[in-house]
């Protein structure tokens, strides 16, 4: 097992390494010049060149990449004289539009993204799985049809429409105050304020995801209920309740671990639309700003790699969890 995990960890690092190269290559090929962009209106070529130097873009792409990799371990220093800036390791670079090290920007954004992801995850897993089980047990009844409708609406309504619909409705009902919405409130000092900040965003994300999990749970439970070992359990005299919760769900929900892990890992990289609509300055919000407004390569690089790292990490978690749950995987 240990060997298996360490192999996967090494593999994960290789993936991130390759990804960093790919991201650099992509940005090397995009015909956008950050030096020109940050030059403003009264611009002349000399200022552009000076910017290029300051941004570290006046050296070959491979060298920029190498500096980036080294910065992760050693930290990096930008600028000269009184305007010197030091980003300690792990330095993902310096975000000029934010006037901060990328790691600082990401650290400031992460609590929003993390809270959003965790809350939404708990909500959608609870709703999706229980609704899915209920629908499977009541297959063919109105509850089952209700679940089908829920799945259809939840998975077909784009999240930006859903989010805006929920936001504006809540706002007009005085349940959201746009002025304070999204300003970080510590759960320790003001749990209610903290909760109010996130509840509608959680609901939005959870609705979209719960639909998928309802469908998955329902079909997995129904599929598993026709397995031979379920019949065996019944033949042993196991009650219907235990057949479902002990014998059926164990196998029916195991595949959901894969979805849950990857969805959660993906969300930790930032929920762009939900964060934007609900004014939550998380990683998704920061990356969309970096891409659309600022063309902020170091921040894009940082958020991309962080999102990928989360994704890869949760992939690993999923594999380990799967091995724990399914002895066939564990032993092989």
């Amino acid at each position: 097992m240990l060997k298996y995990i360490s192999k996967r960890v090494i593999y994960a690092f290789v993936m991130l390494f390759v990804l960093s190269i790919v991201v650099y290559l992509i940005f090397g090929l995009v015909p956008i010049d950050p030096a020109q962009l940050s030059c403003g209106t009264h611009c002349n070529p000399v200022v552009v060149e000076a910017n290029r130097h300051r941004l570290g873009l006046d050296i070959p792409l491979w060298h920029q990449w190498w500096n980036f990799i080294m910065g992760l371990f050693q930290g990096r220093t930008y600028g000269e004289g009184a305007a010197i800036i030091h980003c300690p390791a792990p330095a993902f670079g310096y975000s000029f539009p934010n006037n901060a090290c990328v790691s600082e920007v990401m650290a400031g954004a992460f609590p929003f993204t993390f809270t959003l992801a965790v809350g939404a995850f708990i909500l959608w897993m609870a709703v999706g799985i229980s609704f899915g089980i209920l629908a499977a047990r009541k297959k063919g009844t109105y509850i089952d049809r209700l679940s089908t409708a829920f799945v259809l609406i939840g998975s077909s309504l784009p999240i930006f429409i859903l989010g805006l619909l929920i936001y504006i409705t809540a706002f007009l009902l005085h349940m959201i105050d746009p002025i304070v919405q999204g300003t970080w409130v510590s759960p320790l000092t003001d749990p209610i304020g903290f909760f109010k900040n996130f509840i509608f965003a959680w609901i939005t994300l959870a609705l979209a995801y719960a639909a998928i999990y309802t469908r998955l749970t329902r079909s997995n439970v129904i599929e598993t209920s026709s397995e031979d070992y379920i019949r065996t359990a019944r033949a042993k005299g196991v009650s219907e309740r235990d057949v479902l919760y002990r014998h059926n769900l164990r196998t029916a929900l195991a595949p959901l671990i894969t979805n849950a892990g990857l969805d959660f890992g993906g969300l930790l990289g930032g929920a762009i639309i939900t964060e934007r609509v609900f004014q939550l300055p998380g990683l998704g919000y920061m990356s969309i700003k970096a891409v659309l407004r600022d063309y902020d390569l170091p921040l894009i690089m940082g958020t991309t790699l962080l999102a990928a790292a989360f994704f890869i990490f949760f992939n690993l978690i999923v594999d380990i969890a799967y091995a724990y749950l399914d002895p066939r995987v564990r032993i092989n």
């Binding site: 209106t41 009264h42 002349n44 600028g79 800036i85 504006i168 970080w184 920061m286």
Partner: protein, 582 residues
């Protein structure tokens, strides 16, 4: 000043959904909250942050007006009143609006005494001098106005690089120390040449003082220190800028700022649909829209500014901005007057105005690059929209006769116009794409071929300002940096002016034009100078360098508890100093 704000792309679907929600919630009675007079003024914006807070880097009219009112004080200020008198300068940190000597080559100001920083220390002349020196650190202090670089008497090399590299590198510090001197409380600036209106530059945050010990380069943009009535309590991009009272500010030294509110909060990142509802439903009576105008394509803007229900909560006013299309007249582009005229007469301007909200909200056809808001320098021109052949809906027949002339006079440009196609530069937004369709059909009607470079809004100006990437006709906008056409004609039409999209230095009339500009810049008699600008505007229009200009209108909205709101023309922004809660 350049037009920084590009129209955001708006999503129709969101709009429709929002509309449905609003209708659904229409029955719901919105109760107005009990008043809180001690309070806070909220400014609401969709933007995720202001472009800059660092005084030397701020360069958009609205941000200048806002920050100059609350956070910084500058040497001089625009008169904080509504109407024509607002373009007059009044003293702020200085005791007067500046004294010119040496025929306008040397300017000096004396600071008032008793002015303190928000940390309680005394403001010194050196602080003002240090602030201006930061403009020269062009690799750190980006995006701000660069008049100091061009005008202060510090040599520059052939490429235009100043011999002084700013206070961080300190290269050429002695040159700066010679050009800008402090004697007691008096700061003196030596210019390369006479500039009769240099004191207007003294109203820019770029000349706001910066205390050297507080300067931390890039990071200064996050929490600059000021001498104004408020100071930054907190700032977070995507969240808010929170300004609270600066207890070291002394009202006795400040005749400009009544400083009514206890707290000023600029709230970022509110989606457009939510923001619109806030003002339509007046859910935040002490809020002001910082974005200017509601979502135009959604009709919210029209409803707000035409329905009597909202009267007293909005302004719809002619602003300082001139939006226009500029012809790239360099060789191989539109180096043919007849073709430029043909395009001008072919375009259906009415359809473009209607697309952007109609004449009521967008503006009216203009006849000069100088806005009537600079009343001294503006005069109606002849020709262009006053030509008897011009029709607001386009005159394809007349355009064809002009093309026929062009066929003989400039065959290359004729071929471009009629077969290979004239390239229009446009922002790649929903509005931009619709505009392209309107232009295409108007051009076709006149027998011309229109092609388009649709450019991502965020990189629009950096792209078109690159001569290698600019098309034949480029959409742009400009407003005077201060109430003098010296901040319009030279930047737009002179080589290295800063915003010259005409590339007109090979145009037959350019040499004569440039000489006249130079003369006008040096003219110290304001009345004579105004007459010269009027002549130059006429030349630019006669050459059809600028085509289809629009004098644009601006809209502002606020909640029912806000009072004392007016339009501050020189900044194209609200008159922030007089705003207060009811």
């Amino acid at each position: 000043m350049a037009e920084i704000k590009a129209g955001g792309s708006r999503n129709k679907v969101i709009a429709i959904v929002a509309a449905i929600v609003v209708i659904a919630a229409g029955a719901f009675v919105v109760s107005s909250k009990a008043g809180n007079k001690s309070g806070t003024i909220y400014y609401i914006t969709n933007a995720q942050q202001l472009n800059h807070l660092d005084p030397q880097r701020v360069y958009t009219g609205e941000d200048i007006a806002f920050l100059n009112t609350y956070l910084y004080r500058t040497l001089v200020s625009y008169n904080p009143v509504a109407g024509k008198d607002s373009s007059k300068l009044v003293p702020d940190l200085a005791t007067d609006i500046g004294t010119a000597t040496d025929g306008g080559k040397t300017w000096s100001w004396t600071l008032k005494s008793g002015i303190k920083w928000s940390d309680g220390t005394d403001l010194t002349c050196e602080d003002v001098k240090y602030g201006i020196s930061r403009i020269f650190a062009t690799d750190v202090i980006l995006d701000g106005p660069t008049y100091a670089l061009q005008l202060l008497d510090i040599p520059a090399d052939a490429k235009g690089v100043s011999a002084y590299a700013g206070p961080y590198k300190k290269t050429g510090q002695d040159l700066y120390d010679k050009a800008v001197t402090c004697a007691g409380n008096t700061i003196t600036m030596h210019l390369k040449k006479a500039v009769g209106d240099f004191n207007y530059f003294g109203s820019y945050p770029a000349v706001a003082p910066v205390k050297a010990s507080a300067d931390n380069g890039d990071k200064y943009d996050l929490k600059p220190m000021g001498t104004g009535p408020y100071m930054i309590a907190s700032f977070k991009a995507g969240d808010k800028l929170d300004l609270v009272r600066n207890k070291y500010w002394d009202k006795k030294t400040d005749a400009i700022r009544p400083a009514y509110p206890n707290e000023v909060i600029l709230r970022f990142g509110i989606s457009e649909d939510v923001r619109d509802q806030m003002f339509l439903k007046d859910t935040q009576p002490n809020a002001v829209n910082y974005d200017q105008g509601l979502q135009a394509p959604n009709n919210n803007n029209k409803v707000f500014h035409t329905d009597a229900k909202y009267k007293g909560r909005g302004i719809n006013v002619l602003g300082p901005f001139v939006r226009y299309w500029t012809a790239n007249v360099s060789k191989g582009h539109l180096d043919c007057l007849d073709v430029r005229k043909a395009v001008f007469f072919a375009i259906n301007l009415q359809s473009i105005i209607d697309l952007n909200g109609g004449s009521e909200l967008y503006g009216a056809p203009a006849d000069s690059p100088i806005s009537p808001s600079i009343a001294t320098d503006y005069a109606p021109t002849t020709g262009n929209i006053h030509d008897s052949n011009w029709k607001i809906g386009g005159n394809p027949d007349y355009a064809k006769t002009l093309l026929a002339t062009a066929k003989g006079s400039c065959p290359a440009a004729y071929a471009k116009a009629t077969s290979s196609g004239i390239y229009f530069d446009l922002a790649k937004t929903a509005t931009g794409e619709k505009t392209a369709a309107l232009i295409k059909s108007a051009m076709e009607a006149a027998g011309m071929v229109a092609k388009f470079n649709l450019i991502e809004p965020g990189v629009y100006y950096p792209t078109v300002m690159n001569p290698a990437k600019q098309g034949d006709i480029t959409r742009a906008g400009w407003a005077a940096d201060w109430a003098n056409a010296s901040t319009v004609i030279p930047p737009l039409f002179i080589k290295d002016g800063g915003f010259n999209l005409n590339q007109n230095w090979d145009d037959p009339v350019y040499k004569d034009f440039a000489a006249k500009v130079s003369a006008a810049q040096g003219e110290t008699d304001r009345a004579k100078q105004a007459a010269e600008w009027k002549v130059l505007a006429q030349i630019a229009m006669d050459q059809y360098w600028t085509i289809m200009p629009i004098f644009t209108k601006q809209q502002f909205e606020w909640g029912s508890k806000i009072a004392g709101v007016d339009f501050w023309m020189p900044n194209g922004a609200l008159l922030y100093p007089s705003m207060h809660l009811k």
